[in-house]
Amino acid sequence: MSKKVGLVNKGISLVEALVSIVVLTVGIVSVLQLSVYAVRTADVSLEKTKVNFLSEMMMETLVVNQSNLQNYQLNINDCNYKPSNDLQKIWTETYKNVLDTNTKTTRCLPGDKKLATITNNTNASINLSVGGGKQNKFLGFSKIE
């Protein structure tokens, strides 16, 4: 029995060592990916905060300026902030400043939307999407006549 123990105790081979290194590397890389994901999540959280403020801004102007509801119809499906009138210009300027600032690398991505849909001059719905359309914010409003 004692002899067997001595014979079996040969240590690890080079192949086993290499395999263990690979396994260890894969584990470390996986955890590093997790930290990258955490940073991205913090970014998304910041974007959501901004979008919340922006959507409240849009809703506030609609609620208080009901006589001009029709002028707020907005359909921006790209990254060109083209307003139809001065009232919309306030919105689009804010989008550009807040969402697309630090313009070294633009934050507006294909798929982002800024929509304000006015129906029958009484109902309004807002859809803001950022992050390439991944993060959406919807708000609605009905005028009481």
């Binding site: 240590g11 955890v31 959280s45 910041l46 400043n97 313009t103």
Partner: protein, 258 residues
């Protein structure tokens, strides 16, 4: 048992070398990972702090601006004291440029000197009319000053003296790191108007730019960052993390020239 010790010949030099290499790689990987995890954690904390500061600042300001001009006293048409908006010293909203602070920079921070001051007046209850001021302080805080009106009519700046504790001080409402505080006024047509024309205000847009408290967690080397905060382009090259947000507010209780 004796044989066991006799057969136990120890490790060869090659085995020891291989084990050392593997051990070194493991320790190096752990060391490297610790550095990455540590900086990532601090970076996330910095981003969250900026986000929180922005949210706090804009939420508090929004609440006060929405209350601007609210009066709980007898309205003027019923014989009460006039709370007419935008007379010389009786403005519901006073927006001043570069009045209170000279915006000296904090170490490593941008020296602005272009920040605004926002003042709002409203009745907090039947017997207390308050004036709330927001401004960026020299040490990078957005600070709020609350003062009460001691006279019944509240027509002059001098009528607003102390807060509840008997002092006339500024309190920070969000973390240190405010780098730009801008207020823009729009009339009912959506046209931006000058601060001196605040009596025509329909909407007020407040923008804040915050930077992180710690230098270098996210940007290992200096990085150029450009922000457009209203009519002012902010450009800085350093290792701080920055972000900004705006909120457009409708002062509900003001009846200007609409």
């Amino acid at each position: 048992m004796n044989n066991f010790f006799k057969n136990n010949k120890g490790l060869t030099l090659v085995e020891i070398l291989v084990a050392s290499v593997i051990g070194s790689m493991t320790v190096a990987a752990i060391y490297f990972s610790y550095g990455v995890f540590s900086s990532t954690y601090l970076g996330i904390v910095a981003k969250v702090q900026v986000s929180k500061d922005i949210r706090n600042a804009l939420t508090v300001i929004t609440k006060d601006v929405r209350l601007a001009g609210y009066t709980s006293k007898i309205p003027p048409q019923s014989g009460g004291i006039s709370f007419a908006p935008f007379t010389t010293m009786n403005n519901k909203i006073i927006i001043r440029k570069n009045t209170y602070f000279n915006a000296n920079s904090s170490p490593g921070r941008y020296q602005t000197g272009v920040n605004d001051v926002l003042e709002v007046i409203y009745d907090r209850d039947r017997s207390t009319r308050v004036r709330v001021s927001y401004a960026q302080s020299n040490d990078g805080f957005l600070k709020k000053r609350l003062s009460r009106c001691l006279n019944a009519d509240c027509l002059n700046d001098n009528d607003y003296i102390f807060n509840e504790t008997g002092f006339y001080d500024y309190q920070p409402i969000a973390g240190q790191g405010l780098e730009a505080f801008k207020v823009v006024v729009f009339n009912s047509s959506g046209t931006q108007i000058d601060h001196s024309q605040a009596n025509q205000a329909q909407f007020i847009r407040v923008s804040v730019l915050y930077s992180s408290a710690n230098n270098g967690e996210l940007h290992k080397t200096s990085q150029e960052q450009t922000f457009r905060v209203e009519d002012y382009t902010f450009s800085k090259t350093d290792r701080f993390f920055r972000d900004m947000a705006s909120v457009l507010i409708y002062p509900r209780n003001i009846q200007p020239t609409r």
